[in-house]
């Protein structure tokens, strides 16, 4: 057992390392560009050299790399502070869906610009009344000639305002059971009738948008899968959802450990306090456990196996850990833990900032409760919850005042 690469892995890593060293954009190159321009510059450079979306087939702009190679690439790339991140949904979720469900022409047309960063895609799944219960989407699509006419609202769409395309799940038949009445499309985000409004979060940030559809027309060619097959198509997308969401936020063990070395309790470093030590030890066990669980799944990849459900574990454990650690760090600072003021806040207000951001980690990408259900059902093989909505026409499923 070791943490080392196999010879082939080592060789590949070396190649990646040297290319990165020579090609990571300098500060000057990025000077004066906004975040999106920076991301696009770097993505294009990788694409031209064959380092973009390396797991993809060559003909779609990839490199035909293996799973472990792409992990190695990501490890090495992440060692540099390079602008990425706006492509995650397009390359990570939309592309795999296109690969399994789009026509050959569509793939050859849409995938290369996704790889090169020329096109940015977003996801239009969740709705105010369809969160954990995603299949409850109400946004309607009605056939009109060769087009479909879309009306309704989506929510939690990141990057909607700068995306070229979006993947979309809508209801085409409300009179059949809810999983059977869905259809899946991709659409041009510049289509008339698409209205985008940012959502302000309790953390103050606005990383998400609401997207409204008023008689938006989508040509039937942009349908993925058959009419009514939308749920199966979305599963392809969701299987690729980056569980990266909510790994941990800014506040991790080492940071709070160092804080406890810095601040004092009764004139002694807080780290000497047994209660502080005990709390930190438990968090270390969680972080360490997640880290080595990750190594085990990398090993599975490296052996050509598919890793287990550790991603949902990481998301589930990491979110509450982050929330509790942020709260605990504020306690260590006592009254000044509450400060968010740029001028006087400790560590730039990172702890209250994380305290306000962490509730989102416990919800986004599957709430704690959904994660536990997934673990119980898919890993332990326990029965699904009773579903009174099973087999009921969607239009007859009861809803509440808060839906």
């Amino acid at each position: 057992m070791d943490f080392n690469d196999s010879p082939q892995e080592a060789e590949f890593r070396a190649e990646a390392v040297s290319w990165l060293e020579q090609n990571v954009p300098s500060r000057q190159e990025l000077q004066g560009l906004d975040e999106i321009q920076r991301c696009k510059l770097w993505q294009k450079r990788k694409y031209d050299a064959g380092w973009a979306c390396i797991r993809w087939p060559k003909e779609y702009g990839g490199r035909d790399a293996t799973a472990i190679q792409s992990v190695i690439w990501n490890q090495e790339e992440s060692k540099h502070s390079v602008p990425t991140g706006i492509f995650g949904i397009g390359q990570g979720m939309a592309a795999p869906t296109m690969m399994s469900w789009a026509s050959e022409d569509q793939k050859r047309f849409h995938l290369p610009p996704l790889a090169s960063g020329e096109h940015i895609w977003c996801q239009l799944f969740s709705e105010p009344s369809a969160g954990s219960d995603l299949a409850a989407v109400r946004t309607r699509a009605v056939r009109d000639g060769n087009d479909w006419v879309i009306n309704g609202q989506k929510i939690w769409t990141s990057g909607a305002h700068y995306s070229n395309y979006g993947i979309l799940v809508v209801r085409t038949d409300p009179d059949v059971p809810k999983h059977k009445g869905l259809t899946y499309f991709f659409l041009d985000m510049k289509s008339p009738g698409v209205e985008i409004r940012p959502i302000k979060q309790i953390s103050g940030g606005a990383n998400f948008n609401e997207v409204f559809f008023n008689d938006v027309r989508i040509p039937d060619e942009q349908r993925l899968g058959a009419v009514g097959q939308g749920w199966q198509v979305s599963l392809t997308t969701l299987m690729n959802e980056r569980a990266a969401i909510g790994g941990g936020g800014g506040v991790g063990f080492d940071r709070v450990f160092r804080l406890a070395q810095e601040v004092t309790i009764d004139d002694r470093p807080a780290i000497e306090n047994a209660q502080v030590r005990s709390a930190l030890a438990n968090w270390y066990c969680q972080e360490s456990g997640l880290q080595y669980t990750g190594y085990r799944s990398l090993t599975a990849l490296s052996r050509g196996e598919t890793p287990g459900p550790e991603n949902s574990i990481g998301k589930y454990v990491g979110a509450s850990k982050t929330q509790d650690m942020a709260s605990f760090a504020m306690d260590l600072l006592e009254m000044s833990g509450a400060l968010q003021d740029p001028q006087s806040a400790f560590a730039g207000g990172m702890y209250p900032g994380t305290y306000m951001g962490s509730p989102g980690l416990r919800i986004a990408g599957g709430s704690d409760e959904i994660m536990l259900n997934i673990l119980a059902e898919r890993v332990l093989g326990m029965p699904q919850d009773i579903r009174p909505d099973k087999g009921v026409p969607f239009s007859e499923i009861p809803t509440g005042s808060n839906n």
């Binding site: 954990s132 103050g204 006592e334 009174p388």
Partner: protein, 373 residues
């Protein structure tokens, strides 16, 4: 056995809740959250008119001379409403400190003003990361003037005076001073809960009057902490109960998979646990109120017990309220955030959970009376 509020006190609660429903709805609180006002001055003056500020101030100082039971009822309702007013600073801390250690002239000068809201007072202890100790305290005093920086001082930007803990070589290492703030350099600082304003106070040989006798600062602070902790705990319990109500209401009306999410055991048991924590915390607050009202020997133990359990209850209820709301709970437009912010502010305001846990055991070590549960 008569371990309940009296009918008059329950009547007061009804009136208080009715008044706050009308004058301090969550949308009123949101105005302060989103605006630039330090507090809701309209609400503040109405509260003054109701006499709440003067509840426990003796009649000779223009107060109502009522008991801490009445003040407990008001505190719980203010906490439930997340009221954006300097009540805790002015009433639980400043007035309390004056009644505890003020000279009769200090009392005569300030208590009547506090009683009618003509003046706002606060208490200034913290000076930065961690809790000050006799060793770490940096604010100094020399003949009736003090120098040093206090941050974060609740309502420091709007207070007329502050009760300040300053270093002192004799006695227990500190003395308490009363300093008028009119000429003191102050800067408003933002905190986790913008519905409660805070400031940095820069004392630079600022005029200040000694309170109590020289070198009794830490013992006075300790007594003040116990007395204020009971009232803070009531505010925490009130907020926690209200957060639970909000979560339950939402869960009843939010449907997923064809049924109210309130019907899923994950939600039922989550909220049942919040109810249990709230109930235990509230009962501990009764104990605290009893000990405070009678100035009982159990006060330090009762205060710490009420404080620790209500801090834990409010953290749990406010974060699980957001969780129960799902994505919507994380949006600015929803009100869940207000409980979550206030919960954290109150938990660091008087000393952290760690600090009060330690204090609880210390109090038990001193009293060391077995409880017969």
């Amino acid at each position: 056995m008569n371990f309940e509020f009296s009918q008059d006190q329950e009547l007061l609660r009804e009136q208080a809740r009715g008044f706050l429903d009308e004058n301090c709805s969550l949308s009123d609180v949101r105005k302060i959250l989103e605006g630039s006002e330090s507090y809701d001055s309209g609400l503040w003056s109405k509260i003054a008119d109701l006499g709440w500020l003067s509840t426990v101030i003796p009649e000779e100082h223009g107060g109502l001379g009522l008991t801490y039971y009445e003040l407990s009822v008001i505190a719980e309702e203010l906490g439930r409403a997340i009221a954006p007013v300097p009540f805790s600073s002015s009433v639980y801390l400043a007035a309390e400190a004056l009644m505890l250690a003020g000279s009769s002239s200090q009392q005569q000068k300030w208590l009547p003003k506090l009683a009618i809201g003509e003046a706002i007072g606060t208490f200034a202890l913290a000076e930065g990361a961690g809790r000050p100790t006799p060793k770490s305290l940096t604010t100094t005093a020399s003949n009736s003037s003090i120098s040093g920086t206090k941050i974060a001082v609740p309502d420091g930007d709007i207070a007329d005076f502050a009760i300040v803990v300053a270093k002192c070589d004799g006695g227990d290492g500190a003395s308490v001073y009363l300093a008028e703030l009119a000429d003191v350099a102050r800067r408003k600082v933002s905190v986790i809960d913008p519905t409660r304003s805070h400031a940095q106070l820069q004392f630079d040989s600022s005029k200040a009057e000694l309170m109590g006798s020289e070198g009794t600062g830490w013992s006075l602070t300790s007594q003040l902490m116990d007395r204020a902790a009971v009232m803070f705990a009531w505010e925490q319990v009130g907020g926690s109960a209200s957060a639970l109500d909000q979560a339950k209401e939402y869960a009843m009306g939010r449907y997923a998979f064809g049924r109210p999410i309130a019907g899923f055991q994950a939600i039922k048991h989550k909220l049942a646990n919040a109810y249990v924590k709230n109930t235990l915390a509230r009962s501990n607050c009764y104990f605290g109120a009893w000990a405070l009202a009678g100035n009982e020997a159990e006060l330090p133990l009762a205060a710490a017990t009420a404080r620790v359990s209500s801090t834990q209850a409010y953290y749990f209820a406010s974060k699980e309220n957001i969780q129960t709301h799902g994505g919507m709970g994380f949006t600015w437009e929803f009100d869940c955030q207000m409980y979550y912010r206030r919960a954290k502010l109150l938990s660091v305001a008087l000393g952290s959970e760690l600090w009060w846990q330690d204090r609880l055991i210390s109090a038990y070590e001193r009293s060391n009376q077995p409880i017969t549960a």
